[in-house]
């Protein structure tokens, strides 16, 4: 599971909805080095905090402990407890506090230890943060960043392993990103901090320790742009989160068999970059949609729907194929846990089958 460089060359092009970063971007190819995904997240936060006193981080154990997954690391040492603020175990309270801070001149980043605990804070995320700008007729906005790791693979079982992106993507007023590699982890987070609207950044536990080249400078990856880290001719894999690297690995293996696959990294679920995603599907006429979350009413349902209601439908050479997590909670036992979400072998098998249909 290696992160790739091809799709990490984000530039601070205007994001959707007209929000433009205030300065020209640094050149993305200059000054890269290989760091981990979690270092990249930390670097983004550190650079933003150094540059702007309004940026603050709060969450459970983000201080001396350095974060449940070690992501905040030394930020507490660098910026102190006022700006890197440990909180009690009160997800609803701290997301709400983030909303209030965002309404009052700060740029808060709230870390939720596991994305599963957003359940505790759904009112503040959905009924407050997402809707305030709209309900107030534009009189206020909520520049809140919510960071939370999702996903399975660590044996943490049903309440600590969910992939909940579909809920957030279905909530008008939220922007939702899922960085799949270190460079995007940094660049998308910088864009999220920049963004005047609430942005949910869904990181992935298994990716934290993966590495990739990341620009030294605070280079934003625009919210609203998908990436195409690999182009092939026989089928197009569309993936989110940890599934992007699985698809890339599968694509590499398939190449040996003479099957040539494109891989699209959705990156931004809302706003969704239909142009890039459908364009890449049109090129091959076969779509394999891969997500970790359960299939039923998941994000890939939306991608399939976009195909079904567009001209892309006429370019399909085979029915769309979704490869998703089973419609079950995530079990504890490693052998069961692996069996309920797509693995590289599953992607290879599904791709092979799809490549010959029709």
């Amino acid at each position: 599971m290696t992160a790739t460089v091809e799709h990490s060359n984000g530039t601070a092009a205007p994001a959707a909805f007209g929000y433009v970063a205030g300065s020209a971007p640094a050149d993305a190819t200059a000054g890269e080095r290989v760091i981990t995904y979690s270092e990249a997240v930390r670097e983004a936060m550190g650079q933003a905090m150094a540059a702007d006193d309004r940026v603050v981080l709060l969450g459970e154990d983000v201080g001396v402990y350095g974060g449940a997954f070690g992501v905040s690391g030394d930020l507490h040492g660098r910026f102190g407890g006022e700006r890197v603020r440990d909180t009690p175990i009160s997800e609803l309270g701290i997301v709400g506090a983030g909303v209030g801070m965002a309404l009052s001149g700060l740029l808060p980043i709230v870390e939720i230890q596991f994305s599963d605990f957003t359940c505790q804070a759904m009112d503040q995320i959905v009924n407050q943060a997402a809707k305030i700008h709209f309900m107030l007729g534009g009189a206020a906005h909520v520049p809140l960043v919510l960071r939370a790791p999702g996903g399975s693979g660590t044996g943490a079982a049903g309440q600590h392993s969910q992939s909940l992106e579909a809920w957030f993507a279905h909530t008008p007023g939220l922007k939702v990103v899922m960085p799949s590699n270190a460079a995007d982890a940094k660049g998308l987070l910088l864009s999220a901090i920049d963004d005047p609207d609430p942005v949910v950044v869904l990181e992935h536990k298994l990716l934290y320790k993966t590495s990739g080249p990341v620009p030294v400078e605070p280079v934003r990856v625009p919210i609203g742009k998908a990436a195409v880290p690999r182009r092939g001719t026989d089928l197009t894999m569309v993936a989110t989160g940890v599934m992007v690297s699985r698809c890339l690995e599968a694509a590499a293996r398939l190449e040996a068999d003479g099957v040539s696959a494109s891989v699209v990294d959705v990156r931004t679920l809302t706003p969704f970059d239909a142009e890039t995603v459908l364009g890449a599907i049109d090129e091959t006429g076969r779509a394999l949609l891969v997500q970790e979350a359960p299939r039923h009413v998941g994000f890939m349902s939306e991608v399939a729907a976009r195909i079904a209601e567009s001209e892309s439908l006429y370019r399909l050479l085979a029915p769309v194929k979704r490869l998703c997590g089973l419609d079950t909670p995530i079990p504890y036992a490693p052998q069961l846990e692996r069996s309920v979400v797509p693995q590289v072998d599953d992607v290879v098998a599904a791709a092979r089958a799809l490549a010959v249909v029709g």
């Binding site: 540059a51 801070m101 709209f134 007729g137 009189a139």
Partner: protein
């Protein structure tokens, strides 16, 4: 940091001070007349949605907001017209909002339960019971970090204190010793469920014991008493002494909302509380103190009535919120427009001790 206007000292204030008395009475009348008009418009089918009226509770909103300085903030509730008016909102865009006009505070998108007047320091009503409390606490944390000196008041009902949001937010306010006043307007019912049944303690105020800050109960129909207690709590907050839970005992004369058949309370109880009319009580005190004349009071009433009539008349004539404009670009309504700075929604207080934007810093690289 902007200097905050001084709140009137408690000693000057009250029925005996003609200026203060007139202001407080006018505010209470504005609230009452505004809500009577709303009630009427609703009954005549000219208003949409549902309405939560605070008639009978005017002294609480008025006394609390009178204790605030310019730049201070409030977060309000579903029963929020009074808070909004007491915090200085204009009646015209309020009424326009309720009448679904484009000139309403929320351009017709929020209605009664979401009226905000951010410029005046009202962070907004809230349709979610308890929803505003963590937000108020977060705003208070921002005031503290930014060193604005501003105090945040959060209004909520007795019923809201049974929500987890109250608990978590009160605890955060306590541990961070934030400049916030938690004002529980105890009107004896959360919808139909009485405080006797919804909690096993006699007062909401004593719930402060769980957080280690003062809990104070006050006659919420006595605008002077509310003002005095709020002034003390605000002073504590402003001086770094942390939060206070202020419980104002009051009563809503009308049903909870439009669907209320008043099955859970007796006519006698309602009558008894109506006899304790915060407005009439305060008028009697004013006349006792001799600070204003009967004619002065009449003038206040007339002014409130005229302002409300004017707001109704003018908003009736205003253009409706326009679906075509809305539909042309719904995303523009959902997401913030491009902004030079993220600081919007904040009161007109300068950041203090806070640096420049990331972009500016990058440019200087």
């Amino acid at each position: 940091m902007t200097e905050l206007a001084e709140a009137p000292a408690a000693s000057d204030a009250g029925a005996a001070d003609p200026r203060w008395a007139r202001e407080a009475l006018l505010t209470m009348y504005r609230i009452r007349r505004f809500e009577e008009a709303v009630d009427d418009l609703f009954a005549r089918g000219m208003m949409h949605g549902t309405m939560h009226l605070s008639i009978g509770q005017e002294a609480s909103a008025t006394g609390v907001c009178a204790a605030l300085a310019e730049g201070d903030l409030i977060a309000s509730t579903h029963r929020g017209h009074g808070h909004c008016i007491a915090k200085g909102a204009d009646l015209l865009p309020m009424m326009a909002e309720l009448l679904a006009k484009d000139s309403g505070y929320c351009r017709g998108r929020g209605g009664s339960m979401h009226i905000a007047d951010v410029a005046k320091g009202n962070l907004g009503a809230n349709g979610i019971v308890g929803g505003g409390i963590p937000i108020a606490v977060g705003s208070a944390l921002a005031q503290k970090l930014r060193g604005t000196g501003a105090v945040v008041v959060c209004f909520f009902g007795d019923g809201a204190t049974n929500e987890g949001a109250f608990h978590e937010a009160a605890n955060l306010a306590a541990i961070w010793q934030l400049p916030v006043v938690l004002v529980c307007e105890n009107n004896k019912y959360g919808m139909s469920f009485s405080t006797e049944k919804s909690m096993h303690v006699a007062t909401v105020a004593e719930r402060a014991a769980a957080y280690g800050f003062p809990g104070v109960r006050v006659d919420g129909n006595d605008v002077e008493a509310v003002f005095a207690a709020a002034t003390e709590a605000v002073a504590r907050a402003r001086s770094g002494g942390g939060p206070t839970l202020l419980e104002t005992m009051t009563y809503r004369w009308k049903g909870h909302s439009k669907s209320d058949k008043n099955l859970y309370r007796t006519r006698e109880e309602i009558e008894q509380w109506r006899a304790d009319d915060p407005i009439a009580d305060f008028e009697a005190k004013i006349l006792d103190a001799g600070s204003l004349s009967v004619e002065d009071l009449e003038a206040v009433r007339t002014q409130a009535r005229d302002e409300v009539r004017d707001a109704v008349r003018r908003s009736m004539q205003a253009p409706d919120a326009d679906p075509r404009a809305f539909l042309a670009d719904p995303a523009a309504a959902v997401f913030a427009a491009p902004l030079g700075s993220h600081v919007a929604g904040a009161p007109a207080v300068e950041p203090h001790g806070l640096g420049t934007a990331l972009d500016a810093t990058e440019e200087s690289k």
